[in-house]
Symmetry: C3
Subunit: 160 residues, 3 copies
């Protein structure tokens, strides 16, 4: 069994099914393989069956900072699910390069890095510091699709 999949199992984590958009069309690839790079679409937090995880809403409003940290962790599992389906094996990832964390911020809520840490902590736990460390921005945006509390996009590099 692959190392990252083994770690997921040890940590009792399950990758969710592919996103089931609650409305509209998404004529995109959730993970786009281009040479030795994978571009990862903005993902929402998901339940195991691919539906949107609750709560929805603005962080610092309906959604607490703690709930948003957990939502960012769930977003990480959703991204790993998309990468798993695109790559077959998560051990093909040589480096997490770029992470862009978007928080659906209530006016005045700017502890956005603490929220996106839910994603970064997961990646570092699973991949270790050498592969897992990444450049990152973590900002508050005006609106996110379906009123999700957090959305994360990323770029990873594959083993040559």
């Amino acid at each position: 069994m692959a190392r990252v999949e083994q770690r997921l199992k040890e940590m009792g984590l399950v990758l969710p099914a592919a996103l089931k958009p609650p409305a509209g069309r998404l004529p995109i690839a959730m993970a786009r393989l281009v040479g030795a790079r994978v571009f990862v679409s903005g993902h929402p937090p998901l339940n195991p069956d691919g539906t949107l995880a609750r709560p929805l809403g603005k962080v610092g409003g309906e959604v607490s900072a703690e709930q948003a940290y957990h939502a960012a962790r769930l977003t990480g599992l959703a991204i790993l699910g998309s990468l798993q389906r695109a790559l077959g094996d998560l051990d093909r990832i040589a480096a997490w390069a770029r992470v862009f964390g978007m928080v659906n911020a209530a006016p005045g809520f700017n502890a956005t890095p603490d929220v996106v840490n839910g994603f970064s902590d997961l990646v570092l736990e699973l991949f270790g510091p050498e592969v897992g460390v990444h450049a990152r921005s973590a900002i508050g945006v005006a609106e996110l699709p379906f009123d999700i509390p957090v959305e994360i996009e990323a770029e990873v590099a594959l083993v040559a």
Copy 2:
């Protein structure tokens, strides 16, 4: 004649002239070629002469979702114009990698993917699914330059 240019002609589409900023300086490259990659600056919807297409304003406010879908399609043509000028031939594009769609959202408007579909649909029509499919985020931002309703940046990979 190149295949994508042929498709544009068949579809009756014309690529607009380069952006004429209505104010200020833009000391940037609208399309930056780096090796076999092109980084595409955030583009606005344009008229054929390179002026900003109307309507301006917030989507879900002064600008309807339908108008914004069309604006995203015009933004696609503006990006193709910049790529054409940078590359000479749009058939040099091997893969659309990453698309980042920013919608000037009125409070509460979160159907942002439906807006940015105007861009994605155009790229898929012109390039087909293998080259045209891309990773994407489609978010609502607080403000966009010149009060444009939508802005899109992208990264494409070139034929080796």
Copy 3:
């Protein structure tokens, strides 16, 4: 002495120390080296000692457009500091590829390109047009960490 470092000295500019986050954890790399590319995390404007430069707040509100232009220039120096620590020598940079400028915009403030020009002008002065020119977006976001007025992330390519 390297050329860019020489230019900095001639211009009387000093690169600040690494960011000292005023709160929370940042489990990230401020500059992530992946092959011949460097992904640069979103950076704030810094004082020489790595603390956040003042003023904080929203541009078009507590922070004027002129102050924000200067903040974007300081953000550029902060990024160059991170690149210097990651690369050892700024002359290893072959091309500025992508710049993403995020302005903490007060409602109605959309002269965001003028703000981010503070960054682009600095990079062009130091690296010249061939290396320094870049693709860019410059948008207004709802909230930024620590209420900083501007945050910039980037990608650069290294000499092969």
